[in-house]
Symmetry: C2
Subunit: 447 residues, 2 copies
């Protein structure tokens, strides 16, 4: 596939959101391979143009939307893209190959020391039948930052984006057919330490791979919301039995024995180490009939994240101003979500002004409780790639149910519609990056 077949990278997105750590990482680890006066100085850089193609001779059938293998997130497409890195040689040429198991030595780094980071993205079949990614350069730059936090190698984010677009270009026609406009699939770029050594050091062998998986639409009532979303929840009954159940996530506030992240830790990075230790709390939530954990931090029970999504609320201040509020990124305990950022930017650009003040600041549980009790809370929602924008209906905190208001014309719904318009091409916008599809036919293979 020639680089020209790949949609252009949004340069504005690329440069932004790059933290100091990410910049240092890029400079330090990428520098040796930068050509100096036309001479390479050593390690090979990740280069999407070198990709080779090996078609899958045994392609699978595409599962129905919201069939069990889709809701279980266990079904991936026919191909994946891989590239390996060693500390001696740098990056190998990437390969598009049939999806299949990885052979890892039992003493491989990732199996013991959590040398793993990833991204979560989607690609969308628009109502105009084009396929789009949504702000992919934010994901690739964030992946560079995540890899730096766990001492995995650097790469040019634009090259990773080209590889992602290549997988989408090849898989799009079959797995996101034009007969299903308005649907999406999930993308998971992943980097793992494969070095076969029990030495607790940064791995000198690494595998980068990109897979595409079927994913349920959590905004579709037919999809499952967490493991036991429909379980009876005796602790949190619907307060008003006369109204029909309303949509929204039920969240269980975390307790002091399960803290997701800490300043100086790695909560801001999309590394594996943030997830395994969170399962204990979220499993309890599921068993008790909640969808997710509301992650709190510190003596004032600051709200940090909702499940693996960012948390937003809309309230009236006592002075009568309407505010959209989410937790700030400064402490490094909160993931810099692409959806979070997009919500903030759209709210500032398209609403803002006198109508809606957009605020990034710490939110303590007592403030939320006061707002609920004084009737000032207007809505709350979770925002992230997996769940997209989902209203929150209830928060269970220290034995008490806090019922969160909901109105059909709320800000969360409005922002969600704007984002969907961009994702599915109803609005032409630089955030929606069109990918040119291609068939993996033999005549292409000699490129």
């Amino acid at each position: 596939m020639s680089p020209s077949a790949v949609a252009s990278v949004n340069k504005t997105d690329m440069a932004s959101n790059l933290t100091e750590a990410g910049v240092k990482h890029t400079i330090k680890d990428t520098a040796p391979s930068i050509a100096v006066n036309g001479h390479s100085t050593g390690l090979q850089e990740l280069d999407a143009s070198k990709i080779t193609f090996t078609p899958n001779e045994n392609p699978k059938a595409v599962p129905e939307a919201n069939s069990p293998e889709v809701t279980k997130m266990s079904s991936c497409t026919d191909h994946m893209i891989t590239a390996t890195w060693t500390s001696k040689t740098g990056w190998t040429a990437p390969s598009l190959i049939p999806y299949g198991p990885l052979a890892l030595q039992p003493h491989a780094s990732v199996l013991h020391y959590s040398t793993s980071c990833f991204e979560g993205m989607k690609f969308y079949r628009g109502h105009d039948l084009k396929i789009r990614l949504f702000r992919p350069s934010l994901n690739t730059v964030r992946m560079l930052n995540s890899s730096a936090r766990i001492s995995l190698p650097a790469f040019p984010p634009a090259e990773l984006q080209k590889l992602i677009e290549t997988l989408v270009a090849v898989e799009g026609e079959k797995w996101l057919p034009k007969s299903r406009p308005g649907s999406f699939m999930y993308l998971r770029p992943t980097m793992i330490g494969t070095a076969p050594t029990l030495s607790v050091n940064k791995p000198n062998e690494v595998l980068l791979y990109i897979i595409a998986c079927c994913f349920p639409d959590f905004n579709d009532p037919a999809a499952t919301l967490g493991a036991h979303a429909n379980a009876n929840n005796n602790e949190s009954p619907n307060g008003n039995s006369e109204t029909k159940p309303r949509p929204g996530l039920k969240l269980l506030a975390s307790k002091e024995d399960t803290i997701r992240a800490w300043p100086g830790g790695f909560g801001f990075a999309k590394v594996g180490a943030n997830y395994g230790p969170s399962l204990l709390a979220s499993d309890e939530a599921h068993l008790r009939g909640f969808n997710q954990i509301l992650w709190l931090f510190g003596p004032d029970s600051e709200i940090t994240e909702a499940g693996a999504s960012n948390f937003f609320l809309v309230w009236k201040t006592r002075e009568g101003r309407t505010q959209l509020v989410t937790a700030p990124l400064g402490d490094g305990i909160i993931l810099a979500g692409v959806t979070r950022r997009s919500v903030l930017e759209l709210a500032r650009e398209r609403i803002g002004g006198e109508e809606l003040e957009v605020v990034e600041r710490k939110i303590c549980m007592w403030e939320l409780e006061e707002a609920v009790n004084e009737g000032r809370l207007m809505e709350a929602f979770a925002a992230g790639t997996a769940y997209f924008i989902m209203p929150i209906s209830l928060i269970h905190y220290r034995g008490t149910d806090l019922h969160i208001p909901f109105a059909d014309d709320n800000y969360g719904s409005k922002l969600k519609q704007w984002l969907m318009d961009i994702m599915y091409g109803a609005e032409s916008h630089e955030w929606g990056v069109v990918v040119q599809e291609r068939s993996l036919i033999p005549s292409d293979l000699d490129e």
Copy 2:
């Protein structure tokens, strides 16, 4: 192999050190498989007696002590033991099979969500030519606690110990030959989530495996201490150029942007998630000529761990008492080391009294600085399975080198010798668990 071939389990060790989380985990997850009135209630329990044997037809050569593949910790033995678990069936019969790569789906849980925990142990070829484990039941109970913290399944620790002993029994004769008394190998029981799904839930498919690897003797001057132990260290030159370099670890104190663990986190558990995020700091330490990080926590810079070992010091109080001090376990940020515990117990039993007060309490860096400046610090050492007991010679903290005293007849050396006497059979002690060796010959295979 019949269970009777396995050395008896130290029941005292088994029951102790079991935290509340571990107990709950055992009860909750193991209960369904406990026989009630002779009828099994469901899931299969891990059962070492069901093990099957498949000999390796292509055995490797044993590397020389401290050869490159040994110092790189990249060489494992000919066999490994595996057992799989699913949420529907429980544990399968364990298998002893040739060591070789694991086939994991690219979307397997452990590669994305750090669903991985492990143990670090050694087995020892005694001067009496017997093979011993050291307090193995402490490791197997700790592994149960670690698995609970990341929602991996429970198992009877005694069964895991039998499996560990089976691998040692089979590999001992070749890999730890009687011609090398006083040597050891490293054991790594590991549990990983293998479920092929991107769903962020506790994995419903798990692999338990045990491998044995060649490991350098860090107490041997020929072995490498960290990646760059012999690098020039301009920041921490030897203060006295007239004395020859003395043994000991040089530690770089951690900074606020890299915190190893926090209350409510998982620092107490031997889970993969504690390691990957630590590599950034330890890589900086190695590049600057230090061996390891001294992990600090909180506004008072409490000393928590030294590298992946526990930290000990001996000082005189201003009142003139001699104290052996290490950080307490209560906050859950420090690993409950087997060596740590053994050091505390031996110090209390065999020294103690007026001579040495044994104290578990928080140690702040300003206290250590004062003790150094006032000449009250007598020694400091790191204690853990990998490094065993290693004196600490220097701590670099906020731009200043703190030189740690060392005397040949220090307490660290005395405790180390007592432990070695138990490990290598010079002293008969219940902590040294003898393993009966066996050949993996065809006549055994039908058992």
